[in-house]
């Protein structure tokens, strides 16, 4: 067991598409804006620099809950097999940042995608709690919005 296993969430899915295509869907604003985010949200890319150390800035919008600024900084891009990034609210040294590793494994014409999200502190969890609380009610999202609005 790795030392992060206790604070890691793993989500996997097999997609009926070759991995080059699945990988492309993650690193092209034309594509990622079409699927990123849960039901009821739209994602609009402000800018994307898909290189090691580059960043993707985007805004997630919900008719009822409003807008949420996000930033993803790419730590490692290995086409078409691995993506490592830090996800935060777009400010430096965000205590609520969390690390994600996405692996793409070819299975014939299909692709198994595995997403490891590693949370290292309660602050991160609190933020993601809001981020993930789409069905969880307006209150959590309002708290998230307040936190995102706070100057750091």
């Amino acid at each position: 067991m790795s030392n992060t296993a206790d604070r890691e969430i793993v989500i996997a899915r097999v997609f009926n598409a070759p991995r080059e295509l699945v990988f492309e869907a993650w690193l092209d604003p034309k594509h990622i804006d079409q699927w990123w985010g849960p039901r009821g949200f739209t994602t609009v890319t402000s800018s994307m620099n898909a290189t090691n150390g580059g960043a993707w800035h985007y805004v997630m919008r919900h008719e009822q809950y409003g807008e949420f600024k996000n930033r993803i900084v790419y730590r490692e891009i290995v086409r078409p097999e691995r993506l490592v990034y830090t996800h935060d609210s777009g400010v430096d040294d965000d205590a609520s940042a969390f690390e994600v590793t996405v692996s793409f494994v070819a299975q014939g014409a299909r692709t198994k995608l595995t997403m490891h999200s590693i949370f290292s502190s309660a602050a991160e969890l609190e933020r993601v709690k809001g981020f993930g609380a789409i069905e969880g009610g307006k209150q959590t999202l309002e708290r998230l919005a307040e936190r995102l609005a706070q100057p750091h």
């Binding site: 598409a17 295509l21 869907a25 079409q34 699927w35 309660a122 709690k129 789409i134």
Partner: protein
Amino acid sequence: MRSDRLNAVFSALADPTRRAILARLATGAANVMELAQPFDMSQPSVSKHLRVLEHAGLIVRGRDAQRRPCRLEPAPLKAVAEFVERYRQHWEQSFDRLELHLQRMKTDEALKPKGKPRRGQKHTLATNDSRFTK
């Protein structure tokens, strides 16, 4: 749940012995001596783990100074489970959308002309190519 409390819950859960103690307590209350037995541990080290679990609000200890039975407190575990579930839902829904989008991408790929058009192939294919129209 407050952030420091959540932190305490996660660090308490990070230890396999403490998770085993919680699993034991899920079957019913027990005192330190009963808990120490299956783990081949001294009572003081079990007590140390119990203090961590108690601080995180994961267990409640009885007032009886002699026995001090411990029982599981499910609320913090429930909060953690709910958080994980919400996060999972967020991504399951995104991946549903990704699945649909990949089908559209595959259709677009299939419409791209491959090399020189063969005789009889309709040229309208090339003008429908997303690379030229977008």
